[in-house]
Amino acid sequence: MQTVIHISLSGHATSFALDEDAHRALRAYLDRARSRLKRDPDRDEILRDLEQSIGDKLANLLQAQARVVDRKEIDSILDRVGAVDGDNADAAAAQPDRPRRLCRIEEGKWLFGVCQGLAAYSSIRVDWVRSIFVIVSVFTGGIPILIYLVLMFALPVVQSNDEYFASLHSHSGAA
């Protein structure tokens, strides 16, 4: 059973219930639109219009039933709304992938996901990162443990590897 997330969309008085996957897909769509429109002076207004339009389609789909919208349904709606063009050609050329940044990754974590984050950042398998961590801790009297504690507080959290890599590519993709 997935968590249900209630969202409100611009212009719509009632909120919509989405399951976790559907919510992630919607957020990814809006984030991408936002980055494509980065240089558009009317960005916020266009995003509101898009939200409203997605809301119209959701309302139309639900016909006032109170139920949860799933991934397939939101995908089909987003497909109809279509990707935002923006000035993507220039934007993509000016900004290839974002540089990687270190994060904690929740999915598959043992403690606080610092090793998961290091593994994603360095493209080294997480088992290796953990092994190296343990071995170096034993030989240095625990210095990596201190570093772990610092990173635990300092790093932003992302939910999964997918999300981590998606955030790196949000500027590129199909033009």
Partner: protein, 110 residues
């Protein structure tokens, strides 16, 4: 056929088609998409909204909010003076282009 070339052409023309649609009276975005849906210029919100807001910045279009019976209020668009002028210019230019395209390949008369 080289689909890409025609795509570029269509992309440039879409703006004038929208001017044409809006010239027929006050319309909102869904009307425009409906009008274009059966044509080669079928368009989605993701493309249309940024274009409409660019056209409004260029003062070709104007909109006002209007309540709808179902759901939130909608933006109804109408032509602004600049838009009306540009549409007229475009139509005249298009006319001269089609004449040119028809004529340009014909053998010269002696």
């Amino acid at each position: 056929m080289d689909a890409d070339k025609f795509n570029t052409l269509r992309k440039g023309l879409l703006e004038f088609l929208i001017l044409g649609i809006v010239s027929s009276g006050r319309v909102y975005a869904a009307d425009m998409m409906q009008r274009l849906s059966k044509t080669d210029f079928a368009t989605q919100e993701g493309t249309l909204y940024p274009l409409l807001s660019k056209m409004r910045r260029e003062q070709l279009l104007d909109y006002e909010w209007q309540e709808s019976e179902s759901g939130p209020p909608r933006k109804y668009y109408k032509l602004a003076a600049t838009g009306r002028r540009q549409l007229a210019e475009f139509r005249a230019y298009w006319q001269s282009l089609t004449t040119l395209i028809d004529e340009v390949g014909k053998p010269c008369k002696p």
